[in-house]
């Protein structure tokens, strides 16, 4: 086993920016980790639910979780395009790991944007380098804000913090030693909400594995039960949350895109491969490789423009991001289906790439914000 770089290796003579890779060097490193460490495990992750912990740690040590965090980049800018590309490289081979990567980088994004210096000092660097792994439980609050479902978590304010109760059905990239971010409504005034970081080993907190999924089984997805869990003030991410949420929304949604881009690129690889022997019949299919390749090229060009504007917290910009996000869902589904058809019976084999990519594509389309959620939200914001 090659020793992953951990915070232990941190040498005070090298500055942080020397230690972590950036740009093409980072993406090449990510590709190497994927080829050498991740690729051999893909089936075990998908079928047996193995969690790719070591790969996650290596990705973090390489610098793949910090490109979008302006306080940690060499030039003080957020490089969302690189974050997206790194996630795409991973997802092209294993979207389960692309998704756990999303959980991680999104948690880091929340902490980066928190006005609370205590929580930033405590967690930002650790999450950004992968020393602490974790996730985000914002699906429920996002759906709540879109008028889809009630908020499921409540907070009682006490001296120095909050007591949290309630249950969330599924939150990913969790474990005993992981952290995640969550939102609760104050019991005495439900219009006030707070966002905070949770240590999964907190007394009263438990993770329950109940459901079995058709993919993403290696994402360590659990039901989260809070039974009088104390959250100290130093773990507050935002209070009050409205303006804060407005500032993280676009980044949250944009970061998911790398998953879909990777899935589509994998579908393209697969289709090209099968066209070597089957082009004489595959040419009768509706969605061809040249069209798909053009679509993904255009799509990445669109991402590259919007990636530079994530700091814009207007609803207007958020609608652009939602449309971009909806498109990746639709393209992923199309690509997944087309890959299935291009491979014919070979696609129907249990271990075929196409059927796995199709299952992953459905996840891109249903993880919050899902296609239906996005349409409802665009309507709610008055842009339809």
């Amino acid at each position: 086993m090659s020793a992953p770089m951990s915070s232990m290796d941190f040498d005070s003579t090298t500055s942080i920016s020397d230690k972590f890779l950036i740009g093409d060097a980072l993406l090449e490193r990510v590709k190497k980790i994927v080829d050498e460490d991740l690729a051999p495990q893909v089936l075990a992750i998908d079928r047996e639910g193995i969690y790719p912990k070591e790969v996650m740690q290596k990705l973090g040590a390489a610098g793949a979780f910090r490109r979008h965090l302006p306080s940690l980049t060499e030039d003080g800018k957020a490089h969302f395009d690189e974050a997206m590309r790194a996630m795409a490289i991973v997802s092209r081979v294993c979207m389960n790991t692309g998704f756990t990567m999303w959980c991680q980088v999104t948690l880091a994004w929340y902490i980066e944007k928190s006005p609370n210096a205590e929580v930033r000092n405590k967690l930002l660097e650790k999450v950004a380098c992968g020393e602490v792994l974790g996730g985000t439980a914002l699906s429920n609050p996002m759906k709540h804000l879109s008028g889809i479902e009630p908020l499921k978590i409540t907070a009682t304010e006490v001296d120095n913090g909050f007591i949290i109760n309630g249950t969330l059905p599924w939150v990913s990239n969790l474990g005993e030693d992981h952290w995640f971010a969550s939102i609760a409504a104050i019991d005495t005034d439900p219009t006030r909400k707070v966002m905070f970081a949770v240590d999964c080993s907190s007394p009263g907190f438990s993770l329950r594995q109940c459901a079995e999924f058709i993919a993403l089984e290696g994402s360590q997805t659990f039901a989260c039960h809070y039974d009088n869990v104390f959250i100290p003030k130093e773990c507050l991410i935002a209070d009050p949350i409205p303006e804060y949420l407005q500032s993280i929304k676009a980044g949250f949604v944009f970061l998911q895109i790398g998953m879909g881009v990777g899935v589509i690129q994998a579908c393209s690889d697969y289709m090209h491969e099968f066209n070597q022997s089957l082009s004489h019949v595959n040419c009768y299919l509706d969605y061809q490789t040249d069209e798909l390749d053009q679509d993904i090229k255009d799509y990445i060009a669109a991402c590259d423009v919007l990636a530079t504007e994530i700091g814009d917290s207007s609803d207007r910009f958020f609608v652009d991001i939602l449309k971009l996000r909806k498109t990746i869902s639709e393209l992923s589904l199309k690509a997944g289906e087309s890959a299935m058809l291009h491979g014919g019976a070979r696609s129907y084999l249990h271990d075929s790439v196409a059927q796995r990519k199709l299952r992953e594509a459905y996840f891109v389309a249903m993880i919050s914000p899902s296609i239906k959620h996005i349409r409802k939200e665009i309507d709610r914001l008055g842009y339809c």
Partner: protein, 470 residues
């Protein structure tokens, strides 16, 4: 005995407990009533107890408004027609005028409009007179975008921002996918310049150049009986809003580096007259200064001026000048300076890409680069582009024109002398109280004029004289 079984939903994960089916895997035989479920029973999908279950009732019916949000679907279906289409980017007056000219010429040509706004048809000049005409912002809409698109036979992609143009491959990059075009017309408009004021977030600060921005301003303004509005910039837009607001009973402070309003356009005498009229109506003029900081607290702004004074205001309208929207063109390799550069065929530096309206920059007859952010040029430009596309080689002549300033307190009509023409001088020709007529003479020839009050009615006659002279 037949029994009406009920269903209960887990509010945490959405699992549905159906009394008729029970949950045999957890030991609840079919027919187990919810009331009879033991307290220790757990939701099979997320592990909560029956406390987190509620009786399943149908949600409030809601009709999904998705027809127009299915952006990618429409790009998908458009893919196959768009390569032969004329695509117009923008949904303002220039875009609609362009489309009606194209339609006049060819009934079958596929035309696609892609716009970041709704595309609803309204007359933008009315934004600065709406208060006194007692018009709600939405009443300014003359016809909805969808209806106008149907009338003109146009495919409309509203609320869609074009992110890049790949002119080598004739492709448009949208958040909803890529799209081929045959001919492209940029009608991207302009925006009020953004100035980040030290000390402020953007709350209470408005830049108004379209209906959506105006609507947002009015939403805030209309809840106050009497508001105090500070306006930075006493140009055309700043003055029109100042007049409209003060006449509607609001307090107005007008701030500008120049001593008197509209000083770039008006001769000094007339600019001074406008200042007098404004002040008599209650506008406070802060000339020769600018804003040094803006602080907001308790829904009020404290506007600090460079001259040390402060103004307490409810809103600040920033109207320091229009800036053509050039980002998209610039990013896509189309030549720009202040605006998108066009030649006298209205063509940009890229083949098959034209531009029209507020986004453009022209070379006038005197060889100067000029912006023409007015309606009249749009009408002529649309004809030129439609002609060019139909292989009719007509050209656009960029001449001076009369500018009408909608300040009912002192109506103004100006024909500014050509740029760089500073060797002449203004002369007062006639004066009756607030009504004044001034002419600009250079080498014995009139090359410009400025009229106020009742004399503005004769603007056309004055303009004919200038045209004859040249």
């Amino acid at each position: 005995m037949s029994q009406a079984y009920q269903k209960y939903i887990c509010v945490i994960c959405g699992y549905i407990y159906d009394e008729e089916l029970g949950d045999p895997e957890s030991g609840l035989p079919s027919g187990t009533l919810f009331a009879d479920i033991p307290d220790e029973w757990e939701c099979p999908d997320c592990g909560v107890t029956k406390q987190d279950f509620i009786l399943l009732t149908a949600p409030e019916p809601e009709v999904a408004n998705v027809s127009k949000t299915s952006g990618f679907d429409s790009v998908l279906t458009l893919k196959h027609v768009s390569k032969d289409a004329i695509v117009v980017l923008g949904g303002g007056m220039a875009a609609w005028e362009m489309i009606s000219q194209l339609r006049k010429q060819d009934n079958d040509q596929a035309i696609i409009m892609i716009t970041h706004c709704s595309g609803d048809v309204y007359s933008k000049p009315q934004l600065s007179t709406a208060l006194n005409k007692q018009k709600e912002p939405n009443k300014l809409i003359q016809i909805s975008a969808a209806d106008q698109a149907a009338t003109l036979g146009v495919t409309l992609l509203p609320y869609t921002r074009v992110l890049a143009i790949d002119s080598d491959h004739k492709r448009l990059i949208l958040p909803t996918g890529g799209l081929q075009y045959n001919k492209l017309i940029l009608a991207l408009g302009a925006n009020q310049k953004y100035i980040p004021f030290p000390g402020s977030d953007t709350k209470g600060i408005h830049r108004i150049n379209d209906l959506e921005q105006y609507r947002s301003f009015r939403e805030h303004l209309d809840v106050l009986d009497k508001a105090h509005v500070a306006i930075l910039g006493s140009g055309l837009i700043g003055c029109e809003f100042a007049d409209d607001l003060v006449s509607a009973g609001h307090d107005v402070s007008l701030i500008d580096l120049s001593e008197t309003p509209l000083s770039h356009l008006l001769p000094t005498q007339l600019s001074g007259k406008l200042a007098e009229v404004f002040e008599s109506k209650g506008v406070q003029i802060f000339g020769g200064t600018t804003i040094s900081e803006v602080k907001s607290a308790d829904a009020k702004l404290t506007v600090g001026l460079a001259n040390g004074k402060t103004i307490k205001a409810d809103f600040l309208i920033s109207a320091v000048g229009l800036q053509p929207n050039i980002d998209l063109a610039k990013r896509s390799g189309i030549d720009t300076q202040r605006g998108i550069l066009v030649d006298d065929r209205m063509q940009t530096s890229c083949e098959d890409i034209y531009a029209i309206g507020d986004c453009t920059e022209h070379i006038d007859t005197g060889g100067n680069k000029v912006l023409l952010p007015y309606i009249k040029p749009i009408l002529k430009q649309a004809k030129v582009i439609a002609g060019q596309i139909a292989a009719d080689d007509i050209h656009y002549e960029c001449n001076t024109d009369v500018v009408v300033i909608k300040t009912p307190s002192l109506p103004l009509s100006v024909c500014p002398p050509p740029l760089k023409d500073d060797s002449g001088a203004w002369k007062l020709v006639e004066s009756q109280g607030e009504s004044m007529a001034l002419a600009y003479y250079r080498a014995g020839q009139m090359t410009g004029f400025a009229l106020s009050g009742s004399f503005t009615k004769k603007a056309n006659d004055w303009f004919q004289q200038i045209k004859l002279a040249s």
